[in-house]
């Protein structure tokens, strides 16, 4: 068994699996960087991802086009996140409660709609998932080829979005506004920035990305929709963003860490490691806690984190 661990095939499948399993978390985390930077903690991402997963699956199933599925997932994610934006920005509600409500609603609604649309079937309906896209030349490299350059297109999209997120946040006027709104909304307001608008946009960007993350689960990673398929990834994405201290590159690293833990437990279980597989399944969650413990003291949260802004109050 020891030798099996060290074969090249095992390593390649582990690393490639790491990348694949980290992508849904990565998508969601990237969008959540905008949301958190603007000062909003969105615990509804779990529910939004489920709605996105359903949207992606339904879109792909009925149009036979995966891309229309992706589009629908983004749309559903954005619209669903509007509820969070409304509750946290307009109502100025407690964000933990608002997010919890959204997650409960998303969990219920996605399951309800799935049953209503597809009924109870012996064999769950399926779609053809996004195929792996081998990049010419690079894909033929030993080890690196199968690990990095033989994924479906959404994986490449996720990696590309890491750079885009960084550029938008650090190099554009919009990014500057987002950061200011999360740190000192009153200052942003006095400089003529529309604080509620920026916050709405940031929550919606987070929703769009989470929808994409959900769609990756249903039509990129698997080929069907399951009630429980998000399994806490929305919450983990929030933790990833804190772990990464709101930086997209670090978020990539953190997402890979979580993907890695998951991929490792799947593969160790497959080759029958003597460790109870429940421990491995619990590993990503335990790592999240440990990571949170190590970064929370020094992490400088946006100063206006979870604080609603109202112009007339001081």
């Amino acid at each position: 068994m020891q030798s099996e661990l060290l074969t090249q095939g095992f390593l390649i499948s582990l690393l490639a699996g790491t990348i694949r399993t980290s992508v849904p978390i990565l998508f969601t985390a990237l969008g959540d960087i905008f949301t958190q930077r603007a000062g909003i903690l969105n615990l509804g991402l779990e529910g939004i991802m489920l709605m996105g997963a359903l949207g992606g699956f339904v879109g792909a199933y009925f149009t036979n086009s995966l891309w229309l599925g992706v589009l629908l997932a983004i749309l559903v994610g954005t619209l669903f996140s509007l509820i969070m934006a409304f509750l946290s920005v307009t109502v100025k509600a407690n964000q933990v409660i608002a997010g919890t409500a959204l997650t409960i609603l998303g969990t219920g609604l996605s399951a309800y709609l799935y049953r209503s649309i597809f009924g109870v079937q012996k064999l769950p309906p399926q779609v053809e998932a996004f195929p792996a896209l081998k990049i010419p030349i690079l894909g033929d490299l030993p080890i690196l080829g199968p690990v990095l350059f033989n994924h479906n297109i959404l994986v490449y999209l996720a990696l590309g979005l890491v750079v885009v997120t960084y550029l938008v946040l650090e190099k554009t006027t919009f990014g500057l506004s987002v950061r200011a709104v999360g740190e000192h909304p009153r200052a942003a307001d006095s400089r003529g920035i529309n604080v509620p608008l920026v916050r709405y946009l940031c929550v919606m960007i987070g929703g769009a990305f989470a929808g994409l993350g959900g769609a990756f689960l249903s039509i990129g990673f698997m080929n069907t929709f399951l009630d429980q398929m998000v399994a806490g990834r929305g919450f983990i994405a929030v933790a990833v963003v804190i772990f990464a201290r709101w930086n997209p590159y670090r978020a990539l690293g953190a997402a890979l860490l979580f993907g890695g833990a998951n991929a490792l437990q799947l593969r160790l279980q497959a080759i029958g490691m003597p460790v109870p597989h429940q421990f491995l399944l619990a590993l990503p969650y335990i790592i999240t806690i440990l990571v949170l413990l190590s970064v929370s003291k020094k992490a400088e949260f946006p100063a206006a984190y979870t604080v609603p802004y109202s112009r007339s109050e001081r």
Binding site: I97, L105, L109, Q278, A282, Y285, S296
Partner: protein, 362 residues
């Protein structure tokens, strides 16, 4: 006393409105998906209250919800967002079961209260851990309690397949049954209604007294912000841990009533999503013990009726989650209505004022 009841009733109005709105939206959803909302809600209501047995089922479901929601309300009052009720529930059940199975040489009269305490301890340990993390490392308790929920699921999964598995259970993932002397006595033969509901009501009563105690005061003061708490001489980190322990200990007790009152053993799904539901119950009950009692009953009915509805008219049970989510959304959105009303009031007030000749020489 009369005024008190009047206030109480007035306090319930927003909750009733929120529920009505949620049901309305739920009905729209049913219509959109080609179901008959009247039939669905009728079945739901009948499923919850249609017979002695059904009412008993509703009360069975309400008991752990009350206890857990009371725990949730204590944390929420102090602005600690303990959303790890599920994990704490599980740990409470596990601890109680460990005591019941391993100390079975003790007399049931000793073992029974011991298992009760163990359940509180188990829950308190799991939530206290999150409290410790918050107090010592400033780790957001929302995330840690959530993550601990998942860890608890796998911990239970492992225990009932490994160390605690029933040796005579043909490999089924479950523990042996507890002795009959340890089970919560039935209140109504022919139903599952057990003594847990009495315990839950007593705990609600204790909750009422708790808020009139100095510890309750300290917890409310924590909810006003850590600056003023510290200024008042409260040791904030210690109190955070204390609050998390009390809050999650109660969740552990909920696990105890469920296992010692219904299942009599540990299995994979001893907890059917009580944690999230307890949050809804606590919020709808306005974090007030009496309100929690009422709203626990309501959501228990919804849940019991929801299963009947799925069986009888084929409406997916998930509709109940949709309603729960909507209820919270409407409860927290009522602020918008109040703001709007205030704005209108100010406008009329101003209109009244500006008609007066406002001389500068007053």
């Amino acid at each position: 006393m009369k005024i008190k009841i009047k206030n109480l009733l007035a306090g319930m109005v927003p909750s009733v409105i929120s529920i009505s709105l949620a049901i309305l939206v739920g009905a729209l959803l049913l219509l959109l998906t080609g179901q008959d909302p009247i039939e669905a809600f009728q079945t739901l209501f009948w499923g919850a209250f249609g017979s002695t047995n059904r009412i008993a089922e509703t009360l069975v479901k309400a008991a752990p919800l009350m206890i857990m929601a009371l725990g949730t309300s204590i944390a929420f009052k102090s602005q600690l967002w303990n959303i790890g009720g599920d994990g704490q529930f599980t740990l409470g059940a596990v601890f109680a079961m460990l005591v019941a199975l391993n100390l079975s040489f003790l007399h049931p009269a000793i073992l029974f209260p011991l298992s009760f305490l163990a359940a509180f301890l188990g829950g308190a340990l799991w939530g206290g851990l999150a409290g410790l993390f918050r107090a010592r490392f400033n780790a957001n308790e929302v995330i840690t309690t959530l993550m601990l929920n998942y860890v608890a699921v796998y911990l239970l999964g492992w225990l009932i397949r490994g160390p605690m598995i029933d040796p005579k259970g043909h490999g089924f993932p479950q523990t042996p049954l507890i002795e009959e002397g340890l089970r919560l006595p039935l209140l109504l033969s022919g139903t599952r209604l057990h003594f847990g509901i009495i315990i839950a009501l007593l705990i609600i009563l204790a909750g009422y007294i708790f808020w009139r105690s100095t510890v309750g005061f300290r917890i409310k003061l924590m909810g006003e912000g850590h600056h003023v708490a510290r200024y008042s001489g409260i040791e904030v980190p210690k109190t955070i841990i204390l609050i998390m322990c009390i809050s999650s200990g109660l969740a552990g007790l909920a696990g105890w009533t469920e296992v010692f009152g219904i299942h009599y053993r540990l299995m994979d799904d001893i907890n059917s999503g009580y944690g999230m539901l307890a949050i809804v119950v606590a919020l709808l009950g306005n974090l007030n013990p009496l309100g929690i009692g009422v709203s626990a009953f309501f959501f228990a009915a919804l849940s019991v009726g929801g299963s009947t509805m799925q069986r009888m008219v084929g409406v997916p049970f998930s509709l109940v989650s949709v309603l729960e989510g909507l209820v919270i959304i409407f409860v927290i959105s009522r602020v918008v209505y109040t703001q709007w009303r205030d704005r209108c009031a100010v406008r009329t007030f101003n209109a009244g004022v500006s008609h007066q000749p406002a001389g500068r020489d007053h």
